[in-house]
Structures are given as structure tokens and as C-alpha cells.
Symmetry: C2
Subunit: 136 residues, 2 copies
């Protein structure tokens, strides 16, 4: 994550980038990735941390408004890639892992309905609208 | 979570409470639970959301400083309990699920080392110190 983009970039500024995660089981799954290398949120100073979280929550709103999920999931784990990034995941009662987290055992086979793939195509615009007042 | 405390309370104010999660596989696992009922972070207004996250990140720092984990994990999921709460989890290379999230399949049997249980007893004090300037 330090040296590769990490997915299709939907938005970026000097602080971070928002990428759409390619996942055959989830449409509208985004990641917000800090551009500079830091290991933990606790390593960020207050202003940087708040600015990053403002982006994360703007993406959460854009994903919710665009994807109409049953629940939103947010997580910063980084056990395998210890570089600060946030997962922003729209969840549905009929998705592959619900009500478990997407990292838990699958509950069912659940190909993404075409209408969700279609909605996800509006994400870039929705995120840009939520973040229009942020510096690029 | 609306009507029960949800664990041993380490700290609380009018906005939220910090509880220690009883988990035989994890010491120092905390939850930050919004007192009022809200379903998603996106339902909070900006000031409330920032205040809650300031508590979450203060708890993250206290847990890191007290527990000396290999990685910190933060997550707000709520698929089963759709009431805003955050998991703050100290992770270790030798814990039950590492490098997977704690919700993934277990990688090994991993009883908590007594020294980690012992450290966790300092959490209440460490969290209070991080939050000493917050209103109660």
C-alpha cells in the first residue's frame, strides 16, 4: 500500500486516496488509504487523524446513499498490510457473510445482484460530491 | 446495547461508555459504545461523531501503551447489534486469529498469556489518563 495504488481510484488528495475494491462478492466496497506510511491511527497527529476520518465518514455517507445497504461496516485492521487504511463496506442481509463480518466464514453463496453493480457505478460521483469542499 | 451496559465499564461520560470485553482469547479488548441509540456513524452529526472518535482514538492509544500489541484493530460493524459501537482490539502474532481478524477462522489454540491479563488490569487507569481533559 506504500508503493501501489491498491485499486481503482475514485478520489484522492494529498492526504489519502479512496479506491474501489474489486471483490466478486461485494459491490461498493471502498478503501480509504493514507498516502504516507504510518502503521497505526495512533501514529497520526490530531489534525491528520481528523482529516482522514472526515474522508472515511464522507465515503461512508456516499456509499450508504448510493448502495442502500442494510448496514455499513467500517474497519481499520492492517494485520497483513500494516499501513493505515480503512475498509468501508455496504452490507446486505443476503450477502455472502451477513450477519458475520466479511472476513468470517461464508454463510451462503451470494453473487452480487446486477442492480448493486449498477448502483456502484455512481460511487465516484457521490464521493466527489461529499468531498467537494475538501482540498485536493 | 441500548438497555444493558455491555461489559465492565472502564470509563463513561454523557456521550458514550468504554467497556472491557470478557473474551477468553483476548485481554485488553475494549468497546466504545454510544449511549444514545443510533444505527450508523452516518446518523451522527459532525460534533457528536468527532467527540465519539476522539474517545475511540484515546482508547486506542491507552490500549496500545498498556498492552504492547503487534497491531491495533478498530472496527464498527453492528450487523448483529445495530447500535453504534467500536471494537478496539490489541492483536499479537501469536493470538488465536492473527493475521486474520478476530472474527475469522481460528489459526491456533492460543490461551492469553498471564502477563497480558496482568497488563490489562492497568487499562482503566490508562484510559482515564488519556481522557482526563474530556467532560464526564
Amino acid at each position: 500500500m506504500c508503493n501501489s495504488v491498491g485499486g481503482a481510484v475514485l478520489w484522492q488528495n494529498a492526504l489519502c486516496r479512496v479506491v474501489e475494491v474489486e471483490d466478486e462478492n461485494y459491490a461498493g466496497f471502498c478503501r480509504v488509504i493514507l498516502n504516507r506510511h504510518a502503521r497505526e491511527m495512533a501514529d497520526l497527529e490530531d489534525g491528520e487523524r481528523r482529516a482522514l476520518m472526515d474522508v472515511v465518514f464522507a465515503v461512508e455517507r456516499a456509499v450508504r446513499d448510493t448502495m442502500h445497504p442494510d448496514k455499513m461496516n467500517l474497519a481499520s485492521l492492517g494485520n497483513m498490510s500494516p499501513h493505515v487504511h480503512w475498509h468501508v463496506i455496504p452490507r446486505y442481509r443476503d450477502d455472502r457473510h451477513f450477519p458475520g463480518p466479511v472476513w468470517a466464514a461464508a454463510q451462503r453463496e451470494a453473487p452480487v445482484p446486477p442492480e448493486r453493480r449498477s448502483r456502484a457505478r455512481g460511487l465516484g460521483e457521490a464521493i466527489a460530491a461529499q468531498l467537494k469542499d475538501f482540498g485536493r
